[in-house]
Amino acid sequence: MKRTLVLAATVGLLALQGPASARDLTIISWGGNFQDAQRTSYFAPFTAETGIKVVDDSWEGGVGTIRTRVEAAGDPGWDVVHGEAEEVNIGCAEGLYEPIDWSKIAEKDRLIPQAISKCGVGAITWSAGIAYDQDKLSPGPTSAADFFDTQKFPGKRAIRKGPKYALELALMGDGVPPEKVYETLSTPEGVDRAFAKLESIKSDLLFFESGGQAIQLLASGEATMVLAFNGRVTAANQTDKRNFKFMWPSSIFAVDSWVILKNSPNKEAALKFIDFASRAEQQKILPTLVAYGPTNTVAASELAPEVAGEIPTDPKNLVGALALDANFWSDNIQPLTERFNLFTAQ
């Protein structure tokens, strides 16, 4: 009897301890076919090359999510996270990430400047912009002003539930040149101006929650124009044989980065993974699967022309585009979101 008890206790202890001490490298990204593409271009080849097992899961973003994990003390449960510029920014200032040892990133010199920061290594470039269905709208809109012109293009417009991208688009639609957008938005008058522009088409505005919904609204004809992510538009054209068009002028482009969570027990493997994911050889695979751009300039230059034409960093796609200002949003996200919610509530 006694022996059985001891045995049971030992087994119990082992079961408790087993997974904790030998957790596989855990990588968190945005899910969906984007993460499928990352699995093919990064996770699987990394395991094949190094023998390091990778577990991947998805998240919904928000620096608060990361803070909760890191502040719980001990193992945060996640090692590498694919985050947006704002999350990288704030989290780094708050000490939620391990600083990157750049000497371990072999192709550092090939990365675009926005991909290099204290805590983050650029993973992809992506754009948010106006998209429409060429089968239903011909000729289509050519400028941000057309998004707000419901006389010329009748129908609903769908934007994400939140001020980010919407306010930038509103100012560009009101004639502010891209390089002046954040300067204007930093003044109370500029914010008023952006909201006034949104107000002008309020009865035609729809608000969506997830990037997938934007495409669905466009596909069903519920919305004539949507504010969408470029990769989703290309994916809808390729897989569902749609004839959607993503408008590059007045689109807003941003860089997402890999970060390593503080106190990660797999720090070394995590850095090794990030080094692997920054190589041109791996980075040129991803854009063939989803239309997000590499941060490695060599990878960008080696893409086939039909692939390169669909990604944000292609030189002709950058004409009239705006670079997202992560600092602006990490400083102003709360007051502007509250104002935006008041706007939608009225």
């Binding site: 928000g62 608060g64 704030i90 200032a93 000490g95 519920e222 400083d331 102003n332 939608t344 509530a345």
Partner: protein
């Protein structure tokens, strides 16, 4: 003997009390604490605060403040500074960049450089009183700023004032309006269904009850998406109505309040039907027949014999649906429009997007108080305990 009995009861109750303490009272207490604590700035900038202790905004800033800030930023752990920067940014948007920038500027400057020149050179805003005033204002260690912000109030030099358009008050009203409407709809739809089920013999009621439970096995997300497909302007509902020539143009049924009410009622209906069905099943049929044979018309039988006896079931159903509906978050986010988002969305925004956990906690505290008041009112209205007590007394 009696003493032993109550001792045993206490021991038997202990696990439940511990569970309640660990899963309910402690988290609620911590939530309250989070909403009033304000320690980030005082732990990162102690010397700056003591240099500013005598200062009033109308005076010129003491020179010691600049060097104190430099020393604080040099000695504090970067993560402590980062938290203070996030805290300052809540009080003064832009202060995050300001403080992080100051830390960087001091790190790059030579120790002999004049701290004031370094600071103002990095960002001219440091030359003004505002950043310093903000540092003094959020020195804690306790604050009512977040609880006030959760009811759209803000302290000013002369008392309290309402902030902007009163966003959060609108949200509480909206949340309860939706929850009450959903409870009403569930009751309206659920009562006849429960009465019908209760009138069936058990072997015929069980398969129907299983059918009723079936939707509970699908994810809320999937059900919301399904409703979008059904209700959108090119969806099945609109197409059928148009084919029947009942409407000319498609109705807007989703991404507005209609969609929210339909989808939430669908999800929560079983929680209304089951408790009502349960209480109805215990009502003896013979009572109804007796009432009928004594001359009561069917509506009178229903109102005076049937309904009072299933009151506890109705109350349980209403409480369940109302409580669950008040906390709803995913469904309104997906099928609602801009003006249908419920409180859950705003708590999530504050906690995860704004990095403003105290505000999230304060919204929770205010909501909890309002919610308890609402539940109390519902209790008084439906008096489930009275009928329950009466039933117990009847034995």
């Amino acid at each position: 003997m009696k003493g032993r009995g109550s001792g045993a009861t206490a021991v038997l109750l202990l696990p439940m009390l511990l569970l309640l303490a660990a899963t309910l009272f402690l988290p609620v207490f911590l939530m309250f604490l989070e909403s009033v604590r304000d320690v980030e700035v005082r732990s990162a900038l102690p010397q700056t605060l003591s240099a500013l202790s005598e200062w009033s905004p109308s005076d010129p800033l003491p020179e010691a403040a600049y060097s104190a800030l430099r020393d604080d930023l040099a000695t504090s752990d970067p993560s402590v500074t980062g938290r203070a920067a996030s805290r300052l940014n809540i009080a003064l948007p832009g202060a995050r960049t300001l403080l992080i920038g100051a830390a960087r500027a001091f790190a790059e400057a030579a120790p002999s450089d004049d701290p004031k020149t370094v600071l103002v050179g990095q960002d001219p805003r440091w030359g003004g009183a505002q950043p310093w005033q903000t540092i003094v204002r959020v020195q804690g260690p306790w604050t009512d700023e977040f609880l006030l912000a959760a009811v759209d109030l803000r302290r000013t030099s002369d008392g309290v004032a309402t902030i902007g358009g009163g966003l959060y008050r609108k949200i509480y009203i909206r949340t309860f309006t939706v929850a009450i409407a959903v409870t009403g709809l569930c009751l309206l739809l659920g009562l006849p269904v429960a009465a019908f089920l209760a009138s069936l013999p058990r072997q015929r009621a069980v398969p129907l009850l299983l059918l009723l439970m079936l939707p509970l096995w699908t994810s809320v997300l999937v059900r919301a998406m399904a409703w979008i497909l059904l209700l959108q302007s090119s969806g099945l509902v609109n197409e059928v109505l148009m084919a029947l020539r009942l409407i000319e143009a498609p109705l807007t049924l989703v991404f507005n309040r209609v969609g929210v009410l339909v989808a939430m009622t669908h999800v929560l209906l079983p929680f209304m039907i089951l408790p009502i069905y349960n209480s109805m099943r215990t009502i003896p049929r013979r009572q109804l027949l007796a009432a009928g044979s004594l001359g009561a018309t069917p509506p009178v039988v229903f109102r005076r014999v049937y309904l009072p006896q299933c009151r506890s079931g109705i109350a349980a159903g209403c409480l369940l649906v109302f409580a669950t509906a008040s906390g709803y978050y995913v469904t309104p986010a997906l099928v609602g429009g801009g003006s249908d988002q419920m409180l859950g969305t705003f708590v999530q925004l504050a906690a995860l997007r704004y990095s403003n956990q105290p505000l999230a906690a304060a919204l929770g505290v205010v909501f909890l108080c309002l919610f308890l008041a609402a539940i109390g009112a519902l209790f008084l209205l439906l008096r489930p305990m009275k009928t329950l007590g009466a039933e117990l007394a009847r034995g």
